[in-house]
């Protein structure tokens, strides 16, 4: 029965239609308990408060430059020289 409804409704809601058995069932079936339709309690809190950690902005430059001479590019000196 669910199938049939799905195919009909993309187009239009039939307001004139009488109350169907199924709709009534949906409307009047109460949840077994509040817990059954609620988020589990351990998800009520988020340790990180859903925030990002501090960005360190690590990028390719950090891998390609010297620690001590940040301005000198690697490979600008011929490797093995001296």
């Amino acid at each position: 029965p669910q199938r049939v409804r799905k195919e009909k409704e993309p187009f239009e809601i039939d307001f004139a239609a009488p109350m169907s058995q199924e709709l009534a069932g949906q409307l009047y079936t109460k949840a077994s308990s509040n817990a059954a339709i609620s988020l589990p309690r351990n998800q009520w809190r988020s340790k990180t408060r859903n925030l990002l950690p501090d960005d360190k902005h690590f990028n390719s430059k950090d891998l390609l430059k010297l620690f001590l001479k940040p301005k000198a590019k690697l490979g600008s000196r011929k490797p093995g020289q001296g």
């Binding site: 409804r5 799905k6 409704e9 993309p10 239009e12 809601i13 039939d14 307001f15 004139a16 239609a17 109350m19 709709l23 949906q26 409307l27 009047y28 079936t29 109460k30 949840a31 077994s32 509040n34 059954a36 339709i37 609620s38 988020l39 351990n42 998800q43 009520w44 809190r45 988020s46 340790k47 990180t48 408060r49 859903n50 925030l51 990002l52 950690p53 501090d54 960005d55 360190k56 902005h57 690590f58 990028n59 390719s60 950090d62 891998l63 010297l66 620690f67 001590l68 001479k69 301005k71 000198a72 690697l74 600008s76 000196r77 490797p79 093995g80 020289q81 001296g82």
Partner: protein, 987 residues
């Protein structure tokens, strides 16, 4: 019925809503206000209020089962809201027309209808079906937003029901609940502020709602729920910090919503605290998401500047008296330097405009997006006369923008902006004189603040400002073209003199040295001249302070107080100086043994000053060395400096002096391979024995040395003549004597208790791996260490380490096929170790009876597996797509075949824990195994292994068996193809 038809129309598009509202209202009025029959068309009907309400409710029931994705449902809900809003207004008009004194709280047909609808929906908010729950919540919340007043009683019930739904299992339901309650919270809050005497009970509930919503804002796992709240909560002081905190929300769209929608709506940014302004700018402009960055840039250059520009613009308009009148609100005010200066002041440019500060980025975006300001600014003589930090920052960022904009993609031709710089900014010689004036002002300010007792007083503030101005001008000078000899000489003289002042602050010193280097000419001769000049300045600085030392003049002592402070900060109470003279003096005085307290004080002061000189001089040397690239031995000045300055400093017992000494020595080692080799052990020793600060420095030095002199790690020259990159073939046979202790030290750093040392060690190893400096076996070992460190829960809080490895690992694997292969080789071993680690952790956690702890502490093994598969995916290796056609052969596409082999091997031969087994099997299913991707031999081995795995029953569940089965089918087909080709070729 007509109502039915109206609702039917309303679901189709929102365009007809206005007409539909009117039509429906007609029916309602007919039902409610005209009790007698009326004639309409062919049918004569007689309905009353109840019929009308019942019919509306009946229609609403029809949409409750409409799925969330269906926009028709949403349209009807919107229609209902619009209708209730309009209808209640009309009701009120009618009511007050009849009785002007009546309050709006009066019971009207529409309020009755609203109540009835809400009443009907109330129990539906907690039914089992999630669609119904969603629609019911949606309608309820929408009604709350649409009407101004509600029946007290029902309002209360609705509020309670909605509060239950904010923890609904379904995110869409939570979103709707939170949306409705946002209005509730907004409703109650102003009341409370206005009048405290109002029924406390009610306020208490409203407050409770707000509190719960803020809680949701921080904790709800669904980003859309948080985002909706962010935009729907009332804007007040209490809530603001919670809203602004979302600037770091884990979800990009939420962050963007804050910058693009909430903040512009917030009104004048000057109401935000300075800290908030700075943080918001910094977070937004450096966000990982480009859209957030864009939104922030717009906020800064279009809203914040307008907040500053609006006032003067208004005043100007008023002064003009009878002018063209005010500009429309949405149009930008005319560019105004005062506004820009105020904006800069309001983001505290003296602090945020430093080299790592956010103001630089902000101003770059500003110039980029405000061509009107680029046109508008000018720098006449008056501009430079009384140079405030803000003014200097305008000049500096303008200069930066004009000289670099549009050059990112290598374009370096003539542009408009170049001409603009030439035209607007003073030429080099003139700039030199301006800079000279500011340098003198700075030196005076340093002196004055040193004499001033008050550490945070005006003098100190003046000094900070002067320093900032000079830094900006030096930054500008660094970008100038010094082909004009007059200008070049002026600048050379100026820098040479400035450097000799002991009182020049550190950052300015650094810039002066750099500028000196660029004025001296790029060639080797220029470099020698540069070193010569700097060393002369060093000698002068040394002499100045020693002179001070001789005569005990109070004022002269205090000129150095400032730098003196920065040194003592690290020193604490140690007063022993390592330099030879000081040590001998100390000995002498100890021998005399009869020190009066004054003499002891004097000795101590002397020692302090000694340290201070050392620090200052070493700093200059360090800045110089950073700008030198030639051979050490060719430069007599450098050799002298090394022996007289650096070597004693390295032996110093004062930690700060020694640290600087190490850095200088390290820099010297970069210039000379022999020196580097001689000192490797010293640095290793420093790492083994030093405190974390020195450890970090030595790690950096060691890594830099190896990167600069890769031959230090090569096989001894007897067998392998100067081969820079390690060759895999003869690696184990003969090893380099340096290799083992170096790698040991670096690897050890990964286990350091200091996060800085850990992170530096990881980055150092990453740098060595990337250019393949290590022999194959060592590289593999090192890679494994890095992978393990990456997933180790102990490093979870070390963001620097985690983020650098997050960047490095995929880059490494995807940059070369060999690297990916290396990862394949360590994958299973690492996974196994991590599985054990996780089990131990889990046991501990079980013991502590903590459920969530484990997952938070360590990533799931399945995630590790996924990442390993991804890192080794042959399709992601650079150049794979290009090579795909021709040379798919060996290596290129084989990585996952090899990984499959390793996984199967592990499954078949060793005892594997349950979780690990599951992960291994699921990894098998995700491998990329293209046809013809591997040779027949490996294929045969794989088939054997799969068969064995299936027969020995390593897969206990259906999913695992399926994965193995599927793999076998694929392999069989490939095998078949291979055989066919072979047979075809043979016969």
């Amino acid at each position: 019925r007509d109502i039915c038809r109206i609702f039917s129309d309303a679901q189709k598009s929102t365009a007809g809503h206005r007409k539909a509202v009117i039509a429906l209202r007609k029916i309602q009025e007919a039902c409610c206000y005209e009790p007698v029959n009326f004639k309409k068309g062919k049918q004569q009907e007689d309905f009353d209020v109840n019929d009308f309400n019942t019919e509306i409710k009946r229609c609403l029931l029809r949409i409750l089962a409409v799925r969330k994705a269906e926009s028709a449902g949403d349209r009807v809900v919107r229609f209902l809201g619009t209708y209730l809003n309009v209808a209640s207004q009309k009701d009120n008009e009618i009511a007050s027309a009849g009785d002007p004194d009546a309050t709006s709280a009066l019971e009207t047909p529409t309020s009755g209808l609203t109540s009835e609808i809400l009443q009907m929906l109330l129990p539906l908010l907690s039914v089992k079906d999630k669609t119904i729950r969603f629609r019911a919540t949606q309608i309820t919340s929408h009604i709350i937003h649409s009407v101004d007043t509600l029946d007290e009683n029902i309002f209360h019930q609705v509020r309670l029901a909605l509060l239950k739904r904010i923890h609904d299992k379904e995110a869409p339901v939570r979103l709707q609940a939170v949306y409705g309650l946002g209005r509730v919270a907004a409703e109650v809050n102003p009341d409370e502020e206005k009048d405290d005497s109002e029924s406390e009970d009610d306020d208490g509930v409203g407050q409770g709602v707000l509190e719960k919503l803020l809680n949701i804002l921080q904790n709800d796992p669904a980003a859309e729920v948080r985002r909706n709240l962010l935009l729907n909560l009332p804007l007040n002081k209490e809530v603001l910090p919670y809203l602004l905190e979302r600037a770091r929300d884990a979800d990009g769209s939420t962050r963007r919503a804050l910058y693009a929608r909430l903040l512009p709506a917030l009104g004048d940014f000057r109401y935000l605290s300075l800290t908030h302004r700075e943080k918001l700018l910094r977070w937004g402009l450096r966000d990982r998401d480009e859209n957030v960055r864009k939104a922030t840039a717009r906020l800064f250059r279009e809203r914040w500047i307008e907040d500053c520009a609006a006032m003067p613009a208004d005043q100007a308009a008023q002064e003009e008296e009878g002018g063209e009148g005010k500009k429309p609100a949405n149009q930008a005010a005319d560019p105004s330097l005062d506004a820009l200066l105020e904006l800069l002041e309001r983001i505290d440019v003296v602090n945020s405009g430093t080299e790592t500060g956010i103001a630089l980025t902000a101003m770059r975006e500003f110039w980029e997006g405000r061509p009107d300001y680029v046109d508008y600014v000018s720098f006449p003589d008056t501009f430079w006369e009384d140079l405030s930090p803000e003014l200097s920052f305008v000049a500096r960022t303008f200069n930066d923008y004009c000289r670099t904009s549009g050059r990112e993609d290598g374009y370096d031709g003539p542009r408009m902006l170049d001409a603009m710089v030439e035209e607007k900014l003073p030429e080099v010689t003139k700039f030199g004189f301006l800079l000279e004036r500011e340098l003198n002002r700075l030196l005076e300010a340093v002196q004055a603040s040193a004499e001033d007792e008050d550490e945070e007083g005006e003098m100190e503030e003046e000094r900070v400002q002067r320093e900032f101005v000079v830094e900006q001008m030096l930054q500008m000078a660094l970008t100038f073209d010094y082909s004009d000899e007059v200008g070049r000489r002026k600048m050379f003289q100026l820098m040479r003199t400035a450097l000799a002042h002991a009182a020049l602050p550190e950052e300015s010193t650094r810039l002066v040295v750099e500028l000196l280097r660029s004025v001296c000419g790029r060639d080797a001769k220029g470099e020698r001249e540069f070193c010569q000049v700097v060393m002369e300045a060093v000698a002068e600085v040394h002499d100045t302070i020693m002179d001070d030392d001789d005569d005990d003049d109070e004022t002269e002592k205090s000129t150095t107080e400032d730098s003196f402070h920065s040194a003592t900060e690290h020193l604490e109470d140690s007063n022993e100086d390592g330099s030879p003279q000081a040590a001998s003096k100390k000995k002498k005085s100890k021998q005399e043994k009869n020190l009066t307290p004054e003499e002891a004080d004097h000795e101590q002061e002397k020692a302090m000053r000694e340290i201070m000189i050392n620090m200052k001089v070493l700093h200059i040397a360090l800045c110089m060395l950073q700008n030198v690239g030639g051979e050490l031995e060719d430069n007599a000045n450098l050799v002298t400096m090394l022996n007289n300055l650096v070597v004693p400093a390295v032996r110093s017992k004062e930690a700060p002096v020694r640290e600087r000494g190490f850095v200088c020595l390290g820099l010297c080692c970069l210039l000379n391979k022999n020196l580097a080799e001689e000192n490797l052990n010293l640095f290793l020793h420093g790492f083994a024995r030093g405190h974390p600060g020195l450890q970090t420095i030595t790690l950096q030095i060691l890594a830099d040395i190896l990167l600069t002199h890769p031959s230090l790690l090569a096989i001894p020259p007897s067998t392998q003549p100067l081969e820079a990159s390690s060759t895999e073939m003869n690696a184990p046979a003969e090893t380099n004597p340096h290799l083992k202790p170096l790698l040991k030290a670096l690897t050890k750093s990964l286990k350091s208790p200091s996060p800085a040392v850990q992170a530096t060690g990881a980055t150092a190893l990453a740098k060595l791996l990337l250019p393949a400096l290590l022999p194959a076996a060592n590289a593999e070992e090192t890679l494994k260490h890095l992978v393990l460190t990456y997933f180790d829960p102990d490093t979870a809080s070390n963001a620097q380490l985690r983020q650098s490895l997050t960047y490095f690992l995929p880059v490494y694997c995807h940059s070369r096929a060999e690297n990916a292969e290396r990862m394949v080789n360590v994958a299973c071993g690492a996974l196994g170790k991590l599985a054990v680690l996780r089990e131990t952790l889990q046991d501990e956690a079980d013991a502590a009876a903590e459920e969530a702890g484990v997952d938070e502490g360590m990533v799931k093994l399945s995630v590790v597996g996924q990442m390993l598969v991804d890192w080794t995916d042959p399709r992601k290796v650079v150049g794979f797509a290009d090579a795909a056609g021709a040379a798919v052969g060996k290596g290129a596409a084989e990585t996952h075949f090899v990984l499959a082999e390793q996984i199967l091997e592990r499954l078949v031969t060793s005892q594997v824990g349950k979780e690990e087994r599951k992960v291994l099997l699921s990894m098998l299913g995700k491998l990329y195994l293209p046809e013809g991707g591997c040779g027949g031999e490996l294929l045969a081995t794989l088939l054997e292994l799969v068969t064995e795995a299936l027969e020995s029953g390593v897969a206990v569940d259906a999913a695992g068996r399926n994965a193995l089965g599927k793999l076998k089918t694929v392999l069989l087909r490939m095998m078949h193809d291979v055989m066919t080709v072979e047979r075809g070729g043979g016969g």
